[in-house]
Structure formats: C-alpha cells, structure tokens
Symmetry: C2
Subunit: 197 residues, 2 copies
C-alpha cells in the first residue's frame, strides 16, 4: 500500500517536472505561472505543492539533472585514451544527442538557469564553470599537440557550446534533415574549424 502510494506520487512528480520543462521552454521561467503549470498537469494550482516545494525547486531540479549528466560525461571522456580532438568530437556529439532527445530540459538549463535562487544559483554557476574549464583543458591539450589550430581555448569553448546549445529551433531542423545528418553537419563545421590542417 505504502509502496504503491509512493510510486504514484513519484510519477506525478515526474509529470509535473516534465510539464514544467516544456512550459519554461515555451514561455520562459518568469513568465510561466503555477496556474499555467497546474492547468497542464490537470489539477488546481495549490495541489502542485503536495508534490513539489516551490516553483524555484522545479527549475533547480531541471538544471541540476542536466548539469549532472555533463559532469558524468566529461569525467568519462577525460579517462579515455585518445587524441584531444577526438575527445572534443565525442563531447560535441553528446551535446547534439542531448539536444535531440531532451530538448526542453537542455534549453531550460542553458537559458533559464539565471533565475535560480541563491544556494542553487552559485552551485550551478560553479558546475558550469567547472565543466567549461575541463573542456577548455582538452582543447588546450589539442593545441599543444598541434591537432587543433593555435587559438584562444576559452573563446573556442564558448563558440562550440553556444553554437549547439542555444539553438531554439531543433524541432524545425530535426524535421527537415535526419538527426544523423544534423549531427554530421554540425560536427563537420565545428571540428573542421578547429582542426589544424
């Protein structure tokens, strides 16, 4: 009995988080009201608070789920023995796949994170900084090994990450070209842009 109840509550909570991701993507975090969210979930606004603590908590959950995935991924890539430029390619492909498969969550964590409240805001900022720093180190390694052109590694990372993660028309392009073709297009432009010929 308690077991079933708990399962029901968890799945309802997940529905709420999923709908929140969609709404925050569509309208933005600040412009989304808890009444909007309640309507999508099919309850009255106060009922949401039986499953979550606050609007703020929803944003925090979305952002830290995404942040966690990238922390795990970069740790994995760092450990593989391969040329730095191939590590960069692996990370880019991962970003593209995440955009294709979890578009709303990626979009929200990429563009709405600034509305996080302060213990979480600082944590998330630190997590992003850490990720970018490690990504930058991989690029710098590639430059030192002459696999990558001589350029400012910090700038390169910002260009690469923004090129992929801030596109707000995935649905449109994914319907025009296949997701495989999309991935190859992006990797071609960005990796060949970095590669030292």
């Amino acid at each position: 009995m308690a077991r079933i109840k708990s399962t029901e509550n968890n799945s309802k909570r997940e529905v709420i988080i999923k709908e929140a991701s969609k709404l925050f993507k569509e309208k933005g975090f600040t412009a989304t009201s808890m009444r909007d969210l309640a309507e999508r979930v099919g309850v009255e606004a106060p009922s949401l608070y039986n499953h979550i603590q606050s609007k703020s908590e929803l944003l925090k959950i979305i952002c830290s789920n995404v942040g966690e995935k990238f922390a795990v991924k970069i740790a994995e890539v760092e450990q593989i023995e391969m040329p730095a430029i191939e590590k960069v390619e692996k990370l880019l492909r991962f970003h593209i796949q995440e955009m294709i498969n979890y578009y709303e969550e990626e979009y929200v964590s990429g563009r709405e994170w600034r509305y996080l409240k302060d213990p979480y805001l600082s944590e998330y900022r630190e997590q992003r900084r850490n990720y970018r720093k490690r990504f930058t180190a991989i690029i710098q390694e590639g430059i030192d090994q002459k696999e990558i052109k001589k350029l400012d590694a910090n700038t390169a990372v910002l260009i690469l990450l923004n090129a992929i993660t801030s596109i707000d028309q995935w649905h449109r392009i994914v319907h025009k070209v296949s997701s495989k073709e999309l991935e190859e297009n992006i990797v071609t432009i960005l990796i060949e842009g970095l590669r030292n010929n």
Copy 2:
C-alpha cells in the same frame, strides 16, 4: 524654446531605452519591472510614461533597431561582387563587431524578442526569417560554387548565428583577449569549418 524641450525629451527617451536594454539583459524582460527601470533612470515609475508608451514598446524599439541594422547590412553584402564565402565572412565579422559594441541590445533582441506583443512579434519573426533566408541563400551559393563544404545550408546558418549571438559572456572574453584577436579566433573556427578544402 520648443526646440530645446524636444531635444531634452529625446535624450531622456534615449536614456530610458539604454537603461532598459541593460536591465532586460541583466534580469530578462519579464523579470524587469518598470520600478526597476525608473530607479535606474532616477525618476518615479509613472514618470516614465511621459517618454514612452509601455514596457512592451521598449522591447519593440530595441528589437527593431537591431533588426533594421542587419537588414541594411545583408542588402549591402548581397550587392558586393565577391565569392560567397567572403560574403559569409563579412557578415560574421559584422555580427562580432555588433556584439562587441552593442552587447546589451544584441543580447536582448536575440533572446528576449519572444516577449514582444503581437503586431510586433509577427513582424520581428518575419524579419528574422527573412534575414536567415537570405543568409542561407549565400551559403547555398557557396556550396554550389564548391567554396563551401556540401552540407545543409539551413543548419549551417543556425550554427553560425547561434555561435556568435548567444554568447552571454562577451564582457569576460573581451577582457581576456583583445577584440581583434577575438574576432580572428571566431572567424577562423567558423569559416574554416565551412570552407571546402
């Protein structure tokens, strides 16, 4: 007398628009209140309405100023006789310079335009679509001429534009590397990524 009054009003109006750009960039359009803006300008909130019609109008002015600049620029570039890939390069350099010199306005028009209200929202969407379409045509021309790699021109445009216009740390990078170096870094990555070797 009337002349002086008019000049004063216009400059006050420009101060309001400038401060609004900064605030919309810092906090987002929806999260910025007219009281926030009034405080920056140094008046009480209702006094703002002697210079502007609505909060919405401020966003519209910022977005259409930026949109207009790009409409003029692409018309200019289309008329020059030069290889398509050099046209692309010209446009990229223009985007970078605009980001360096008018960061707040570019950021707001790039990321907060979706909060425009409906006659303006549709107009702005159309303007963006038109710009991207013409940019895509230049890339397609480059592909046909074998100056640019064979890839989906629509995807390429989105990658290029997002790579530059959605970076939210210009102030940080511009202080680390010179703006000339920054421009060369970005152009190197993106143009070499497109170029057919």
